[in-house]
């Protein structure tokens, strides 16, 4: 009927799709492929890589030194995820339960930090955490401590940095799923004799599982890659997979090995995503589907 309008929309849609595809190819697929290719080449001291096939980088991944770094990186990421969940859940719950007109401004507060580069925000943390930084100055002025607390260049500082940077990625998916939670179910549970803890473990937690999983993935994966956080805030011992990759490229000059670690991280991400979508599908076909 409205042919010009329709073709207009189609043109727009095709242009938009083409743009997105080009962008994805150029900035995601091509670099990923380049890294994948480099990871199976040989290292060269002068030109970084020589075009000869080799799996030695992948074999090196199994080296106990690196396995230890993987393990530590995992532990950091897991701990960060847990901390984000512990801090983010109450906030997301509160957010989802406040009046509708307060929710938008509060959500904005969660998003505002994104307007500043996280690298800059990490530098700001140094000023807050260092020996004569804001926290120590205040605590000493208040007479709570005499000697400054040693926070900067410890694991605690790394966790503060990671949690601070990644918290919004936990809060947003949690909020999305808690906001959909039917509070009448909570009332029904109370009515049937549930104590608050039981309401939480038996009703709220299972029903917000999709949000928890999405949040965990969105925190866990980046947590392993945020190399500048341990670089700036951590001691010499703090090391993430991201630091390993960065060092291989920039310090050790071992591009194939750095690429292999990257590929490993990407695979891990794909694996976690696959698990997530599979679980979501199961939950969707059973729990979320309304009669």
């Amino acid at each position: 009927m409205n042919k010009p309008g329709l073709s207009h929309i189609l043109t727009f849609r095709n242009t938009a799709i083409a743009l997105v595809v080009t962008w994805t190819l150029l900035f995601i697929v091509v670099p990923t492929l380049m890294i994948a290719v480099v990871s199976v080449l040989q290292r060269d001291a002068r030109t970084f890589v020589t075009p000869a096939f080799s799996l030695e980088s992948y074999m090196a991944l199994a080296d106990p030194v690196y396995l230890k770094i993987f393990g530590k990186s995992f532990a950091y990421a897991a701990m960060t995820t847990l901390l984000c969940l512990l801090v983010g859940f109450p906030f997301a719950f509160f957010l989802a339960r406040t009046r509708k007109r307060w929710q938008k401004p509060l959500l904005l507060l969660v998003i505002i930090p994104f307007w500043t580069s996280s690298l800059i925000r990490t530098y700001a943390l140094i000023i807050i955490l260092k020996a004569n930084g804001i926290i120590n100055t205040w605590l000493r002025a208040a007479g709570i401590i005499k000697l400054p607390l040693e926070i900067l260049y410890t694991d605690i500082a790394v966790y503060i940095g990671l949690v601070y940077t990644l918290l919004p990625f936990m809060i947003l998916p949690l909020y999305a799923s808690l906001e959909k939670l039917d509070f009448r179910l909570v009332e029904a549970a109370f009515d049937l004799g549930a104590r608050p803890v039981q309401v939480f473990t038996r009703i709220i937690l299972p029903l917000s599982l999709p949000g928890i999983m999405a949040g965990a993935i969105m925190v866990f994966l980046p947590a392993m890659g945020l190399f500048y956080v341990p670089d700036l805030l951590g001691g010499a011992k703090s090391m993430l997979l991201g630091n390993l990759i960065k060092n291989q490229f920039l310090v050790a000059g071992n591009w194939p090995f750095g690429s292999a670690v990257s590929v490993f991280l990407t695979m891990l991400m794909l694996g976690l995503m696959a698990i997530y979508f599979k679980t979501m599908k199961r939950i969707n076909t059973s729990v979320m589907e309304e009669a």
Binding site: E187, A188, L192
Partner: protein, 362 residues
């Protein structure tokens, strides 16, 4: 009637400066089927929620089984609710839903399973335990909601418009089943509805509410035949209202003028001379006769405007000579032919003396 199981003592509750329950006092007795009836927004759900412990009251006391319960949390009250939305847990099976309350109390598994089976049988859902909630029809979900509540053997079962989401036929069946369930369990049912037919057919006692206040409390027959005021008369059943005036009274009887016809009726409420009144008559209380000299006295005069055949009754719409329209219902009997009036046929309208309800015209 048993002893009081729930008492409201001067209970007031408001939301955002709007009073929703206004200084209500009410006794509910053990084992009765009590219905809270009233238009949408009159505070019925709020009353139920205060009994369940899901809502606090601003003033007054809610006494459950002899204990002032204002500060007792919902979980510790011996009360269970069938919610209007059913509020079944979507991540659990039918069995897990029904077992929820018992498993919270840490009962042994064998006992839980036995009781769940019993409850399932009671709501006619035997064998449905492993089903997912989403795979049930509306009527089945409603039964699960009932089973989930009664399996805990509460002192009081609260039902918030549990039939409103069902289709007409299922609703009628469920009314009977709920009555039977009430008899079988012997516990107190407090039922909320805004459907007067539901209230009349199911309840031992009805509390008619409006604007957060109780308009009348009584048995269905009482509420229907002797409404306490115009609101109740209008809300329950169909009614014809006639404006009138008291022309004389000796305290027991009074002379009144209705539609310019003089008659004598009982003075039940201390009406005084010249007081404006309204006379209420149910359609089935009216006696219609073909206009002739033998019509019962006193009577009003009118013409048949419409005749609606309904199988076991014939409904008439009659326009009085004053212009006012009224509705009447006549039941068939042996001389059935008599009630087929012609359109525009002149008729006399009277009623059986004493069946009229006279209310002050406020």
């Amino acid at each position: 009637m048993g002893k009081q199981i729930v008492s409201f003592k001067g209970v007031t509750k408001g939301f955002d400066n709007q009073t929703v329950v206004d200084n209500i006092s009410l006794d509910i007795y053990g084992g009765e089927f009590l219905t809270l009836l009233g238009p949408s927004g009159c505070g019925k759900t709020t009353m139920l929620r205060m009994i369940a412990g899901l809502e606090s009251c601003d003033e007054g006391q809610v006494i459950i089984n002899g204990v002032v319960s204002n500060d007792i949390p919902a979980a510790e009250r011996d009360v269970n609710t069938v919610f209007q939305s059913y509020a079944l847990f979507p991540h659990m099976t039918v069995l897990q839903n029904i077992a929820f309350g018992l498993s919270l109390k840490g009962r042994p598994e064998a006992e839980i399973l036995e009781k769940v089976e019993e409850a399932l049988a009671m709501v006619k859902l035997a064998g449905f335990g492993e089903r997912r909630i989403q795979r049930l029809s509306g009527g089945q979900q409603q039964r699960v909601a009932i089973a989930r509540a009664i399996v805990n053997e509460p002192l009081i079962l609260l039902l918030d418009e549990p039939l409103s989401a069902l289709d007409h036929k299922l609703r009628k069946e469920m009314r009977l089943e709920l009555r039977q369930l009430h008899r079988k369990l012997g516990i107190t049912f407090i039922f909320v509805t805004h459907d007067q037919e539901e209230a009349l057919t199911m309840s031992d006692r009805i509390v008619v509410m409006n604007n957060g206040k109780i308009e009348q409390t009584g048995e269905p027959k009482e509420i229907y035949e002797e409404p306490a005021n115009l609101f109740v008369a209008d809300f329950i059943g169909e009614s014809n209202f006639f404006d009138g005036r008291v022309t004389g009274t000796d305290g027991h009887w009074m002379d009144i003028l209705v539609e310019d016809v003089a008659m004598t009726v009982r003075n039940r409420r201390g009406f005084f001379v010249n007081q404006d009144i309204r006379v209420l008559l149910r359609p089935e209380d009216m006696v219609i006769q073909r206009a002739s000299d033998d019509c019962d006295q006193p009577h009003l005069k009118g013409r048949v405007e419409e005749l609606i055949y309904k199988g076991n009754t014939v409904d008439l719409v009659i326009r009085l000579n004053s212009g006012k329209r009224i509705a009447t219902t006549e039941f068939f009997n042996e001389d059935a032919e008599e009630i087929f009036y012609a359109q525009n046929e002149a008729v006399c309208i009277s009623w059986i003396q004493g069946w009229e309800v006279v209310l002050p015209n406020e």
